[in-house]
Subunit: 210 residues, 2 copies
């Protein structure tokens, strides 16, 4: 549970807010000006009450009898999520997955961007992927401090994930997006999000089995 001065809300609310933002941005691109919570509900598989309540923790953004204006809701969602400023992200491990992540970046979208990559393999160091320079991991702390980066993506092999995490924490990183299939050991003030493909597949298989 997350509490501000005014309200308490579920961590799931935050996850959904990011989905709302993404989809409202697309609605704008598709020329949609106004949507109701009922329409959103069908689009995103979230109940209309859930959508309204998620937003209500942060203010009153809709118009009764009308719905939500897409443009202004995107503005508000960005403000809520902290995306009205630019965020730099570091990435460690420029293997196939790391490379795919570096290349997935769309430079028209400026809010969140991987701006520094690191590897330990001489073959990769000082190369450039999608305009991003790959540094020697030895210089991690120095560059993180210099660029004041607070978020790090870890896409190294399993065996190195904890060592990289320790280095990241020591360097002042506060949030980690981890692709290695392991639960990282971190101090409790550090936020970790795990993306584990095989766990997700296994979860799906469980549901197929009944």
């Amino acid at each position: 549970m997350i509490c501000t001065d005014k309200n308490c809300f579920s961590p799931e609310t935050v996850r959904r807010l990011a989905v709302y933002l993404q989809n409202f941005e697309r609605l704008i691109k598709n020329g949609v000006d106004v949507v109701s919570s009922g329409q959103i509900s069908k689009l995103l598989n979230v109940s209309p009450e859930q959508f309204r309540k998620d937003l209500s923790y942060f203010g009153e953004f809709g118009k009764r009898g009308v719905g939500y204006q897409t443009e202004s809701l995107v503005y508000e969602l960005k403000k809520i999520l902290g995306l009205n400023q630019a965020w730099q992200v570091a990435l460690v491990g420029v293997g196939r997955l790391g490379c795919a992540l570096l290349n997935s970046q769309d430079f028209s979208e400026l809010n969140v961007r991987i701006t520094a990559a690191f590897d330990s393999d001489k073959k990769n160091i000082d190369k450039t992927v999608n305009g991003i320079h790959i540094h020697d991991i030895i210089n991690f702390k120095k560059i993180i401090k210099q660029k004041k980066i607070r978020i790090c993506v870890i896409s190294v092999p399993l065996d190195h994930a904890q060592a990289v995490t320790d280095l990241a924490v020591e360097s002042g990183i506060e949030a980690i997006l981890n692709f290695a299939p392991v639960i990282l050991n971190v101090p409790e003030n550090i936020h970790v999000s795990n993306m584990d493909i095989y766990c997700e597949l296994e979860r799906l298989i469980f549901f197929l089995n009944k």
Copy 2:
């Protein structure tokens, strides 16, 4: 909430079971024979009661006064998750991410494996990645039926994700792991799991902002 004939449990329980399995397999590799819920708790950031209760929905796997035998728990977890049989997975979209996923497969682990890949780009079709043949997407339905594949990974660009999903559903696919940043529209008997890197990063940023 998921109910069997005996019990009802949270969908989160299933997600955690996959994490337990992964970590118990590593414990075995490290030569650990027996662990208590308290030790697991420290390792995985799950309360000991949570761990015990998650397992209790499926049987009694521990020994009072002792703990859990790693070997036998792995066996039980595989049985619970349905991993005591082989599962074939299809993948659509052999771009950088798709390629990384195909290459990430460890052939010593046999339970879940991507055995068919699909693309629409002539450049990729009939090539082989990590021993997996890339088929023309035109033959998707035929091959899925032939191989009796029930699970599909979608790693195509945003604009094609819904069309691929429709094709998958029409072909009899029952579970989808989706990497495209969009909520897919599917019939309600189809299971979808979304892995959205930018949503996760935005979630982390929210927490950094307070």
